[in-house]
Every structure is written in C-alpha cells, then in structure tokens.
Symmetry: C2
Subunit: 313 residues, 2 copies
C-alpha cells in the first residue's frame, strides 16, 4: 500500500455543526456528522470530542493528520488562531495554520480572515474563508477582474475574489436578525410559522420601494400589517424574511459602482440560496449556486494540498 | 361639598407599568403605581386588578369614573378598543371612548390611533396618542404648520401634529431592536454593560457616515470592533445604542423635505430623551424635552374634559 494516497481527515467544526470526512486525495472514504461546539458538555474538551469522533478511523488506520476549519479556531474552540489579512487564498491560509497535537494525530486549524470592509469597518470571518477558496476553485476566478461570492446565513458574507483569493468582504447580520426578531420580539408573537413565498416577495418589494434606510421602521409593519390588514402569521414570517434579505441586497447594491449587484455565486444550502436567487433580480443581481458542503470540502482539499509537505505523516 | 370639582381616576396602563392618579380637575389628590398587563397572574383579570388597586379611593369616596389609556385597550387588555384614524385630537379620542362598567364605577378606555405612515405602510399606536395630545397642549401647536414630536422607546413614535391633533406618525423599532440584540444575539455576548457616551457618539457618527441603509452590516461591527480593536463591553453597548438611534434619526431626516429633522419635541424619561437630544444635531435636528408622565396626565385631562358630560357621575 506504499503507493496509495495518504489518508487524512478534513473537518468543518462550527458553533452548530461538526462535519468530518476521511479522504484519500479527493476521494471521500467515510463521513461523520455531529453537533457543533455549542453542544459540548461540561467536562468535554474539543480535543477529547475530536479523538472520540475519529476513533473508528484511527483504530483502523493508526494516527491520521487532520485539517479543520471554522469556529474550532475561535476562543470558544480548540485553539484560538490568528486571522490572515486579505488578500488571502489557499496558500496564505496554508502558511498560517495553527498546529496542535492530539492522540489521533497532528491537527492543523485554518486561520480566520480579517479585512477592512467595503464600508470601512473591521470585519472578520472564520470558516467561510475555506468555503470561499473552495467555491472559487469550483467556479473558476479570473486573475484580473473581481468576482462576487455570497454566503447567506446567520452572518452573511459577501466577498470580492480574484485569482482564488479573498480580496475583501462584508458581513451582514441578516440571519441572526431574523432569528432574534422572530423568537424574541413582538413581531411574530414569538411563534414564527413557515414563511410563504408571497409574504417573502412582498417584503422584498417593500424594502426596495422604501429603501434599506427605512428598515427599522419597516420592521414594525410586520406587526401593523397583522393588526390592520389581517396578514396571517405565515405570510408575516415571509414578509420579515423578505424585508431583511431585501435590505441586505439593497445595501450590497448601494456599494457597487453602478448600483446593481450583477453576477454573484451563492454558496450554501439550496433552501436558503434559493431565497437569495429569487430576490437578487430586484437589485440588479443574478445568482448561480454552489453547494456549501462541496465548497468547504474543496477548500479544505486545496489548503491541505498547499500544506502537504507538513501535513504528511 | 356640592361645588367641589368632581373626583375621577386617570390612568395609563401599559404592558410594563400601571400609573393611576386620583384627580379633582387638574389637581392630583393621590397616586398609585403598579406592574403592567404583562405581570398579571393567572386568575386575575384587568377588571379585578383595577378594582383592587383603586379600592382605597372608592372605599373613601364611593364609585369613581375612570379614564384609562394604553395597552389596556389592546387584545391583551381589558377590552379591545377600535383605532381612531388620523387626524386625531383630544375631541376625536373622547368621541370614540370604549365604556365598561366595573364595581369601582364607569370606566372609559381611550382608543388607539391608526394612520398610513409617511413611508406608506399601515401604522398604529396605543397609549402614545394620549401623551401626544397632552404634550401638544403643553408645547402649544399651531393650527397652520405641523410640528414634530418624538416618543423614544421600545417602539419609537414620530408624529406630525397641528392644532393639537396627530396628523400622521411613523413607528421605528429602535428600543426593541436594542433589547433583543443586546440580550439574545452574539453582539454583546448576552451581557450588555452600562453604555459609555464615547461608544454612543461613535455609533451615531458611524451610521451617519455609512448611511442607515448599511445598518444590518454596521451591527456586525459591534462584534468585529471587540475582536479586532479591543472595544470594551461598555463601549460596545454604547456603540450599538448609537448605531440604532442614529439609524432612526437618519431615517426620519431622509423623510423630511430638506433632509434635516429640524425642531422636535421629545416626550419621555429624561435619561432616554437625553440620548436623542445628543444625537439630533448630527441629523439637522434640535430637541426640547417634555416629561412623559406630565404629558400623559395632561392628555388624559384633556380627553376627560372633552368627554365630561358622559364622564360625570
């Protein structure tokens, strides 16, 4: 077996989810899914959880090198890693890996990425950088012109990429705003329903007409339309989602040279990405989608390949 | 005692607070403060709570007429009252009182007010209409030109008034956004601290420079400035408050003919009103303050005077 591709573990370990793949080159041999860092029990450490999750693999094959990205590199994770500054591609990330030794073998953790955002503030990401470099490789990026990528989510990331590297990015709080407003505010009486498409479309159209600067006022319409216009809870849930995603897109469009978003590659789960693709044309945008799971695996493979000399056991 | 002014009860009964005054004309004889509708125990009804709270007064003086405003007229209150449409002044509110009989005497509940907001959506208020007509009487409003009033709070209200009547208004979700984001989001780690003035000023300046349309992106800076610039929790708390109040003021300024807020009367507690007065000059505004308690009492007195024929026992 001396000529076989070396086995290694690739992983994305975030706040909510842990996804681990056992791979030989680009071939996935096995997979483990589990709960994220937020679900750790008292007395558990990321090291003990990891060693336990990969025990079947190390029992079979001996110590295995691992490459992990995500919040595992934050202060709530295994070891806090520094941020790489933009521009950052796979080689930059590979050159800034943080290494820890575990009973399962050597573990390398991908750094987060930091930049000065297009609106002039400090910005950070952790985990999305790996999806971005993977998606850029899948989509193909030019060395000359920048291409726009979007990762919708709790903290949506919009990244301008060229030559496979993240040049700058902007975080928008859309997903977390939806979560806290639907669960903890008066807007949906804390009982959000399945969102209707009609409600979503109405929310997008509303914020496009009134402008994203009116968002804190428009949010109250989720309530006033229920009180005054008989809007039902499922439509109101869609309306809130449409207001927030519409405001996100309006803000991004405002930062583009011609006020239109243009072509954008959306990375994520199909269900969420479809909402963005649906709203994009209202802001001069057109989306194509890349699966988030495939993107993170592609990114980890790229970074691992760049770091191969150190990674091999 | 036949020539003495008749006694009556005035009250503001909201979600969080109950304030009751025993008055003879405009003279306050006694006062009771208590918890609002959200604090009612199982088995209690607004009627039983009210009769209990005023028992000392009715024991001493016999049945007393009462006039109540606030969420006591909502579906969570004593009796759901219809909305009066704008324009609405004290006489309009007095003409649309909802009457219930209680063991303590006849009770009249002030209607809420509804309008089509300046940004074109349905809007509602319940309780603030009474503060507004009271504040307008205290400040003096012209029959010709409209004057701007602001009630900062969980759901801030901005009202254009003329001749003592509410002509139109706009709700902005500022206070509730601050509450849910500071308690339930990742921004302040769910442990908001006392806000610093420096942080508040920085937040106001930031949203003024970047534009209110960038708010969903700027919110994430509360986190990234802590991670990247060492912003402390008390400064970050002020920064979040400044971003949200600044976005509210920017949205109001954008709706004014010349893009400047101009003169505005701020009704509320001095601590909150001072934050608004501090931020207003950045948006072409200048605030003078009226105490919220005094305004609601003045409004109730005005409405009671208009309804006196029916109110007298």
């Amino acid at each position: 077996m001396a000529t076989a591709a070396p086995l290694r573990i690739l992983g994305d370990w975030g706040t909510s989810n842990l996804r681990l793949w056992l791979v030989a080159d680009d071939t996935v041999i096995d997979r483990r899914d589990g709960a994220g860092l937020a679900a750790m029990e008292p007395g558990e450490s990321p090291a003990s959880v990891f060693v336990d999750r990969v025990a079947q693999w190390t029992d079979a094959y001996g110590p295995l090198p691992a490459l992990l990205c995500g919040m595992v590199g934050a202060n709530i994770g295994w070891r806090q890693t520094p941020y790489a500054e933009c521009p950052a591609g796979a080689a930059d990330l590979a050159a800034r890996l943080t290494r820890v030794e575990a009973r399962s073998g050597p573990v390398a953790i991908v750094p987060g990425v930091a930049c000065r955002s297009p609106i002039g503030g400090p910005d950070v990401m952790r985990g999305e950088e790996t999806q971005l470099v993977g998606a850029a490789a899948m989509a193909g990026t030019d060395d000359n012109g920048e291409q726009l990528f979007c990762l919708p989510g709790t903290h949506s990331k919009w990244a301008a990429m060229a030559g496979g590297a993240i040049h700058r990015f902007q975080t928008v709080m859309t997903g977390e705003l939806f979560a806290v407003l639907s669960r903890h505010s008066i807007l949906l009486d804390r009982t959000p329903a399945e969102a209707t498409v009609a409600g979503f479309d109405a929310g997008v159209a509303r914020v496009r007409a009134a402008g994203a600067g009116a968002l804190p006022a428009l949010l109250f319409e989720v309530r006033s339309r229920r009180l005054r216009e008989g809007m039902m809870m499922d439509e109101a849930t869609g309306f809130l989602s449409g207001l927030l995603i519409g405001a996100e897109l309006a803000g991004i469009a405002a930062g583009r040279a011609d006020g239109a978003i243009g072509a954008v590659t959306i990375i994520g789960s199909p269900s969420l990405a479809q909402h963005y693709a649906r709203a994009l044309p209202h802001f001069g945008g057109e989306g194509k989608m890349i699966d988030g799971d495939a993107a993170v695996r592609a990114g980890l493979s790229l970074i691992a390949a760049q770091a191969m000399m150190e990674m091999s056991v």
